[in-house]
């Protein structure tokens, strides 16, 4: 659906995006994961046509995104709240709907759908400036959906949102996914990417480091699982694998359950055990040498 072919963008001496090539498949949710300043928003900007790449091409259903007709396929929820705060939710939705040539009954139906989705039916005629941060964020996404886009671009949609609204947004995205909408989701929260995205592209310093489904990323770049526990008894003749410190016992293993079963059969008894599998944080750490929140 969306093809980025070796796109690059420089701002003076700073390379914001460096030869990124990726494809977004119809109906999938692709996550762009990277720390702040990694180049995610610039990439989104080029996907939408806000930013012209210095080199490379962006094609949405075979057309450049800066063409008027192509833009009708896109819905964008920018990272910054992009709403007219002096207007009501209904007025915001009506205005943006009108820009996409929605009129009359179809517009009213879409407005009602968006208000319901955002849970703002009761506050539809209140000015946005009176809303909480979570309500504004929900409306920010709802406005992007007013014209039923084929591709939804969500740029850090949960920044500054309370846990309740965050879950609300996650539920939405899963609902939209189940309806077959294609979604590009940028975030620096690995939990979000891990929960919502079919594939995750890891970006740092403007470079695409990896793009794969989450399990494959974990398998390829995540390393071993870590078992941490408190030992109650070790047979005298046994050489316990791993490291024992004051804090307890620690063992890295590719198959943690199998390793624990074998140790139990050999007479090792545990007071407590915790298994931590590899996650995208680990993947990112391994690919970039630094954490997502560094």
């Amino acid at each position: 659906m969306l093809v980025l072919d070796r796109i690059a963008k420089r701002y003076g001496p700073v390379t914001a995006v460096r030869n990124v090539t990726l494809q977004v498949r119809r109906g999938e949710c692709l996550g762009l994961l990277g720390p702040n300043g990694a180049g995610k928003s610039t990439t989104i900007g080029m996907m939408v046509g806000w930013i012209k790449p210095d080199s490379g091409t962006v094609l949405l259903d075979g057309s450049p995104p800066d063409r008027t007709e192509t833009r009708r396929l896109l819905g964008v929820a920018p990272q910054a709240l992009s709403l007219y705060e002096e207007l009501t939710a209904r007025e915001n939705l009506r205005f943006f709907g009108q820009l996409y040539d929605l009129r009359g009954e179809p517009l009213r139906e879409r407005m009602a759908w968006c208000l319901k989705l955002a849970g703002l039916e009761d506050r539809a005629d209140d000015r946005v400036q009176t809303y909480s941060g979570g309500m504004k964020r929900r409306l920010n996404i709802a406005v992007a959906l007013i014209h039923q886009p084929k591709l939804l671009l969500l740029d850090e949609p949960t920044v500054g949102v309370d846990p309740q609204s965050r879950n609300h947004i996650f539920d939405w995205i899963e609902q939209l996914q189940s309806q077959g909408m294609t979604i590009v989701y940028t975030t620096h929260y690995m939990e979000e990417a891990q929960r919502l995205c079919d594939r995750v592209a890891i970006i740092d310093h403007g470079e695409l480091l990896a793009i794969d489904p989450v399990p494959e990323l974990l398998a390829r770049h995540g390393g071993l699982s870590v078992i941490v526990g408190q030992i109650e008894h070790v047979p005298a003749d046994m050489d316990l694998p791993g490291a024992v410190t004051d804090a307890g016992w620690r063992l890295e293993a590719a198959e943690p359950f199998e390793s624990l079963t074998q140790l139990t059969h050999r007479g090792v008894r545990f007071r407590s055990v915790q298994i931590a599998g590899p996650d995208l944080e680990t993947v990112f750490l391994k690919l970039t040498g630094r954490g997502l929140r560094d």
Binding site: G49, T68, V76, P78, L81, L83, E85, Q98, R127, V143
Partner: protein, 438 residues
């Protein structure tokens, strides 16, 4: 249609912003009223509150002095009271009256008779009201002239004056015989003419039918001097002003329009800072459409301001000489300031920088262009400078329609300059917006 939606959205945002709406609607109304009250006086056109307060000291107390007092009272531009000399002087010194007139003893006996020594009529004026003083002097001369004219139209009074003059001449020791003879002969000739004319007033059928004596030694009549005064002079311009609102409302309209310019020029920066510009640019709109939408909103707001101020001005007593020309001037002014708005809008990236630049430019334009003090009251070199301000051309066009009585060809230069500025501003705004780095 999208342009219309963009414009309606911007107008709605403007009206929802109380401060912005105040500068567009409330502020110009207040300014119009404030300056209108200030301009009452020289430009009042005879309204009761525009009268010059004076006090008259009648030291003569003759029918002629009372007639002069009545004549002054009948002048629609004066409010006249009487007092003794000391009270009059005190009231002028305290600023309670603009001036005082002292009619001296002997005025009635001598006024209008050239052979009689003329007693001195004194005028005292509050030094801070020089313009009123000059006007008062003129009005006094007019009143005296009317009085003299009336005296000559009464044959009996005039003949009695001639008798007194002849007696006085006969008893005068300091007049040479040749002069005495010349003046006496002249007076006798005048006496004969007056008597003959008086007899002619009897009708042919023998009925006594006195008609007005029409000697008209001094035929004084009021004339329209508007065309006589140099049109560019302050006096010439003020003579055309029929109401203080004629001056104050064109100025006030400009402040409303400047409020629109300031408000809308910030709106692009505001859209940028709030992120709504990104959303607009993600919509099926071109950059030009976004800019034209802003321009349309600003244009409509400017027209709204002009319409509102015109309605209010007319309600207060402003009577535009040509609504068609006012509409033409209004359209050109609105277009001009839309162009200025579009240039200002792209000069700064933040709301603060655009607001600062915008109001600074507005103040300078207003200062030199007649938005604060009417250009006609400015020194000559500033009047020349004012031609570089679009405000000057706007006010000139609007005043041309309201009270300057411009013909279409006289209005054309102002309209042409305004349209040209509008085109240039629009071009610069569009060019810079398209060159903005993403």
């Amino acid at each position: 249609m999208k342009l219309w939606y963009l414009a309606v959205k911007d107008l709605r945002l403007l009206l929802r912003d109380r401060m912005g709406a105040f500068f567009v609607i409330g502020f110009p109304v207040l300014l119009g009223l404030f300056f209108g009250v200030i301009f009452r006086g020289p430009a009042a056109g005879g309204g009761s509150s525009a009268k010059i307060d004076i006090v008259v000291v009648d030291q003569d107390a003759t029918p002629q002095s009372q007639r002069l007092f009545a004549e002054l009272q009948n002048n629609g531009s004066l409010r006249v009271d009487t007092a003794d000399a000391e009270q009059a002087r005190r009231s002028v010194r305290r600023g309670e009256r603009a001036g005082m007139i002292v009619i001296p003893a002997g005025f009635g006996a001598a006024a209008g008779l050239p052979w009689e020594p003329q007693p001195e009529i004194q005028i005292g004026v509050d030094p801070s009201k020089g313009a009123e003083g000059a006007m008062l002097e003129g009005m006094l001369m007019q009143a005296v002239a009317t009085l003299v004219g009336e005296r000559f139209q009464n044959p009996k009074e005039f003949l009695s004056s001639l008798d007194r003059a002849q007696q006085s001449l006969a008893s005068a020791d300091d007049v040479s015989p040749a002069t005495r003879l010349l003046v006496a002969t002249f007076l006798q000739q005048v006496q004969r003419v007056i008597q003959a004319a008086d007899e002619l007033q009897t009708s042919r059928d023998g009925q006594e039918h006195r008609q007005h004596f029409q000697l008209n030694l001094a035929n004084i009549r009021k004339i329209d001097i508007i065309d006589d005064a140099a049109p560019s002079s302050l006096a010439g311009q003020l003579q055309k002003v029929r109401s203080p609102w004629d001056i104050s409302f064109p100025q006030a309209m400009m402040w409303g329009i400047m409020g629109c310019v300031a408000g809308f020029s910030m709106s692009i920066a505001r859209e940028r800072s709030r992120g709504t510009l990104l959303r607009l640019r993600a919509a099926p709109l071109s950059k030009s459409q976004i800019l034209i939408g802003k321009a349309l909103a600003c244009f409509l707001a400017c027209l709204l301001v002009m319409f509102m101020m015109t309605v209010l001005g007319v309600a207060l007593g402003m009577h535009p000489l040509s609504f068609a020309k006012l509409a033409a001037a209004g359209l050109a002014t609105s277009f001009c300031f839309v162009g200025i708005m579009m240039t200002m809008a792209v000069l700064g990236k933040t709301e603060e920088s655009v607001a600062g630049t915008g109001w600074a430019a507005n103040i300078v334009m207003a200062m030199f262009g007649g938005g604060m003090v009417p250009v006609m009251f400015m020194p000559g070199f500033v009047q020349t400078l004012s031609r570089f301000s679009p405000i000057y051309w706007s006010i000139r066009g609007i005043e041309g329609a309201i009270w300057r009585d411009f013909s279409w060809s006289e209005l054309l230069p102002a309209v042409a300059v305004l349209v040209l500025i509008g085109l240039m501003g629009t071009g610069v705004g569009a060019f810079v917006l398209h060159r903005h780095r993403d």
